[in-house]
Symmetry: C2
Subunit: 351 residues, 2 copies
């Protein structure tokens, strides 16, 4: 489906974006990555090394889409994965989160709809928009009540995609991703979710910590399965729906997730700790996706079970960790060391 | 309830805000209005003339809340009605709408929660967040799917209020208002909704135009009833709910609304026209509110029937029209004459 097609991948040096870009390049697509590697967002040029000679990289913010209008014009499909994913950062620096997750997407889509009207745009949305679930598993009709700025801002961006699609200006699809894990997730950018934190600690030979009693449920999904969902959404002819949950193949407690991961890493242990204050208010309890819509309408299904996916992930970092861990910064901190600089730079580029 | 209390009313020189400020002042509250009268948003200092000597007016954008921190600190309750209401403007100038309806509210609430943690804040939300209804009447559980930027941006602001309330940082309530009409609505700022447009034309002795077949339903609510809803929400002790629909006492077709209004104005007629392109894509068909939650939990009910409310409205403008119509600008235009200036000014004040 993708051979000879041109794909634009925003956030394409980040975790999911780089895995998608690599897969697209291997399928024979012409790939342009847009990613300025904004501190804290997980972008890492090393991520696309396997296809470095086969992809173009534009080091610009998507808010500056006018400056890469040519790349937009020649694209057949856009995978829009740019943004900041940290819930914790969003509560510390809400305007930064608004800039990265909403303002920039408004500017990007305003440019896209003018330069390439009607183009398919697949947006990386998140299960986070549902907040603390009213029921499990959570389907796409579940009410939206985000528990932090990140969820609000990413929901606004998703609504841009859907509203402009209703108007026929773009052809948008939003994938609401559950917790994604796998190779190429940032380990030096903390606050990227508990799975990235687990991988970091196991890679460093440290034990795992679980907040609360550990009976909270999650349905982790391996990044290759998520990439497959993006590819299917990008090649779908006539979408019946525009919003799809993307959940994992198993629903597991945090205790079980940590137990499997520790067994794979061998020799490390799990301990329980009370919720730190910064995390407590944005905890959402148990979550599990109802992914029946994407199974039915796109024929997607997750193939990689957690044990297998986590084994592959740890294997990746066993060799590659020096590219993902700053040896001077081995203590994770939920702080953006240069956040002031980032905010100041964006302040004058905004609305 | 309000005697001796201090109330801050943002957007307090606008349509609903000024009616609320007048009522609060007459109830014996100390009222501070925050309203910079941004072009196109309906602010008009003349609106509060009846209580001019009894209210303080701060001519600042709510985004600059640090500059009126003292007024926030001494407030007992905040009525947050600042914003731009025009659907059409939002599609023409989406970044302007984002600035006025989202960015500024983020900054405002970040200041409020720091200076006056836990304060009751009642936000003027809108039925527009529901988009084209899936069913009638629309209750608060109806899915959200805004059809324009204005709806997306106002929904994000409402979510700020609710999310910060969940976290205990403010004590927020959002009222989702249906079409409001009454004295003090701007007549020179076009694109403020069809009821304002009708009043304008009748005040000028012009006939009414209806887009489409006129069988679309609405449940117009008179501004005094809306003011009452704000007052009740402001004095509620322990909210069971934080989101309330505020609908009118009758569900009427546009044909019936126009027929009643023309009869009151005497001597003008109704004609039907196809939807103009600028309006077509943001039309939502029929709408009617289910207001049973606010009736039940706040004891509110709308008292003014449309015929009575429209008679009062036309009576108001018969005497006051010179303060609401620029004689050099008697042709309504869905353009903000100075929008470029406004956007440029905001560009550097933003995120």
């Amino acid at each position: 489906m993708y051979t000879g097609k041109r794909a634009l991948v925003t956030g394409g040096l980040g975790f999911v974006g780089s895995n998608l870009a690599i897969r697209l390049a291997r399928l024979g697509a012409g790939v342009t990555i847009v990613d300025p590697c904004i501190k804290g967002c997980g972008g890492n040029p090393y991520n696309v090394r396997p296809v470095r000679d086969r992809v173009s990289i534009v080091s610009l913010d998507i808010a500056d889409a006018e400056q890469f209008a040519g790349a937009i014009a020649e694209s057949d499909v856009i995978f829009n994965l740019a943004g900041e994913v940290s819930h914790v950062h969003s509560m510390q620096y809400p305007e930064r989160d608004l800039q990265l997750n909403t303002v920039s997407h408004l500017r990007f889509l305003e440019t896209v709809k003018r330069i390439k009207p009607g183009i398919r745009v697949i947006y990386a949305s998140t299960r986070q928009v549902y907040g603390a679930p009213d029921y499990l598993p959570v389907d796409e009709s579940h009410p939206v009540h985000p528990v932090d700025f990140n969820g609000i801002h990413k929901y606004a961006a998703a609504m841009y995609h859907l509203m402009l699609s209703e108007r026929g200006e773009i052809d948008g699809i939003a994938l609401r991703l559950t917790n994604v894990y796998g190779p190429r997730v940032a380990l030096s950018a903390p606050c990227q979710g508990f799975l990235s934190h687990f991988v970091r600690r196991l890679t460093l030979g440290q034990g795992l910590e679980i907040y609360g009693d550990g009976e909270q449920l999650r349905d982790p999904v391996y990044v290759d399965d998520v990439v497959e969902a993006f590819l299917l959404a990008g090649s779908l002819r006539e979408p019946q729906s525009r919003v799809f949950n993307v959940g994992g193949p198993e629903v597991l407690s945090l205790n079980r997730i940590a137990g499997i991961a520790c067994r794979l890493a061998a020799g490390v242990e799990v301990c329980h700790r009370p919720f730190p204050e910064s995390q407590r208010t944005i905890d959402i309890g148990s979550y599990a996706s109802d992914s029946s819509r994407i199974r039915r309408e796109l024929g997607w299904q997750p193939k990689v079970r957690f044990e297998e996916g986590m084994a592959r992930t740890l294997e990746y970092y066993r060799a590659e960790w020096p590219h993902y861990l700053d040896p001077d910064d081995l203590e994770p901190r939920c702080q953006l060391p240069e956040h002031r600089g980032v905010v100041r730079r964006l302040r004058y580029a905004a609305v």
